[in-house]
Symmetry: C2
Subunit: 328 residues, 2 copies
């Protein structure tokens, strides 16, 4: 049985999902949906068509899992609940502070319509969250550290580009080396968000834009920038294209903790990602979770899920027996 996947939206993440589907023989791309004119969207998968979002309900019986590739700020909070009426959906909602309310909205729709959706897949939230959970369960007395970067944050770049007067923009999150080393030492330093990362923005302004206003709006934006040391660089379109078109990213999750009756034994758990392409890696995670959601739905398990609810084996195309024999 091949899992038929639909892609809603066709930006960088969608292209990452599309190429991940091509790497997983038990999945296939069924259709791509766009809010643009379908004829203007060129996809890479031979034999697959692009349709208007207005036609999506016609595909209800031809799609097992819909992967929604859209922004967390305004699109996903609307789209995932709406499409969960008719499809099992996966999104990469990454506004951490709003996850509980997004979960409730999607869960309500799923339970009413017997669908199975998963929110906030990717690497953070996603693989990093899983590492935090496992490490906290194993070392209940300890400290968590998450570092992001060096890399472009799509969410933060999108947030910059929505500011009036901004023509183009990109944001790099960069871990501060001395902070990383302090954590690896196992000494359990107290580090504020600000001490762990800096945020560096490259902005191409519209002609005659108010640069001071743009800089201020970026630096004071809640959730995204207000808690960080943020640098804003205004550059030309040419320099932007030449130097800032890569999509690499990465990061580190640590938990350090103590065990023993005397609490004198120290342990350091470190997980890190170095990614040439953030959207392709994220897309690969979404496709693995599409496999899991398909299986849960087939088993009659409806409602909204997160990566915490998904047994690892559900992500793998390999049989339970072979997983035990070869990966355990």
């Amino acid at each position: 049985m091949t899992i038929r996947i639909g892609i809603m939206g066709y930006g960088n993440l969608a292209r990452g999902v599309e190429s991940a589907i091509a790497q997983n023989p038990d999945t296939k791309l069924a259709a791509v949906f766009t809010r643009r004119f379908p004829s203007q969207v060129k996809i890479k998968t031979p034999g697959v068509s692009v349709y208007s979002v207005n036609d999506v309900l016609k595909f209800k019986d031809q799609i097992d899992v819909m992967i929604i590739c859209a922004g967390s700020a305004t699109d996903l909070p609307e789209m995932t609940p709406v499409y969960s009426r008719d499809f099992n959906c996966i999104d990469s909602f990454d506004t951490h502070a709003n996850i509980p309310q997004h979960f409730e909205a999607v869960n309500e729709v799923c339970l009413a319509n017997h669908t199975t959706s998963l929110i906030s897949a990717g690497w953070d939230p996603g693989m990093f969250s899983i590492q935090r959970l496992y490490a906290n369960a194993i070392l209940p007395e300890g400290k968590d550290y998450t570092f992001w970067g060096k890399g472009v944050s799509q969410g933060h770049s999108d947030a910059i580009r929505r500011i009036p007067g901004v023509k183009n923009g990109k944001q790099y999150t960069i871990p501060i080396d001395s902070a990383l080393e302090a954590v690896r030492s196992g000494k359990g330093p107290d580090l504020t968000t600000r001490q762990k990362h800096k945020r560096v923005c490259y902005v191409v302004p519209e002609e005659d834009a108010d640069l001071a206003a743009i800089e201020n709006e970026i630096k004071t934006m809640p959730n995204y920038f207000a808690d960080y040391d943020t640098t804003v660089n205004f550059i030309t379109e040419e320099i932007f294209e030449r130097d800032h078109s890569g999509m690499s990213h990465g990061g580190f999750v640590f938990r350090t903790g103590v065990t023993g009756f005397d609490k004198d034994n120290r342990h350091i758990i470190e997980y890190s990602l170095k990614l040439d392409s953030n959207p392709e890696f994220t897309g690969s995670v979404l496709v693995a979770y599409a496999r899991a959601i398909y299986r849960l739905h087939e088993a009659g398990d409806c409602g909204c899920k997160t990566v915490f609810d998904i047994a690892p084996k559900l992500l793998s195309p390999v049989s339970d027996y072979d997983l035990r024999a070869h990966l355990l």
Copy 2:
């Protein structure tokens, strides 16, 4: 509801389990069982008693999960199936090649007796296995690397101590730095076992022992040392006690892979553990899985499980809502 845990056996791993129970307020130690004379076994938890294994069935209704702390070579293949008749059991069976047959033996007993057991928990097999599974599901085209150490290998230390003329001995497995760096570079090198690890032995010889013969016997021992670059150091009993009584260990799991239609984007996933106490960390993993097994059993899910079957949230004492709000 407090989860009542029994410990079968009382060696280093059992002591690690005992201290982990003390760190997890939703668990408590119910009893310790031993094949020795119970009066000769001194445990650290106040108010808890040690009993003979012969009395274990009297505790059938007083223990939610039994953690079996015994060796993989001969004990666990017998004990876990036997005790799974009457208890939900957890073991740390680590003979990778024999996992499928151990699983079948335990699963059969669990299904016949409506119990829920989990085999092969710990860090390898265990947390390392989980990392391998997630990373393989996300990056289907890539290479896996596992490095162990720096840490003591019990099996290799035992092998040294069986050699005539050896009074005491310990063997450290040590990852070779240049191999680690080659993997981290993302180039996907092919590395033989010999190229990834070296083995360093510390041996206390008997008086008048033939040191050259001992060294030769170690270095040419098939399976254990012959395939590795092995160093043998002869030391005194005093130095052995002073410098080589620790139980630290650790290791690294990597997967490197490519994504994209052109397969030109490279990704590196790295997970590492640095553990002051191998048995205390392993014990902490076993207690987290005891929580999961208790919950699965309460939900009526019987049979033999592995870490691949367990949704991450089942390991945590935190509510689903709080996990989503704070760790996702």
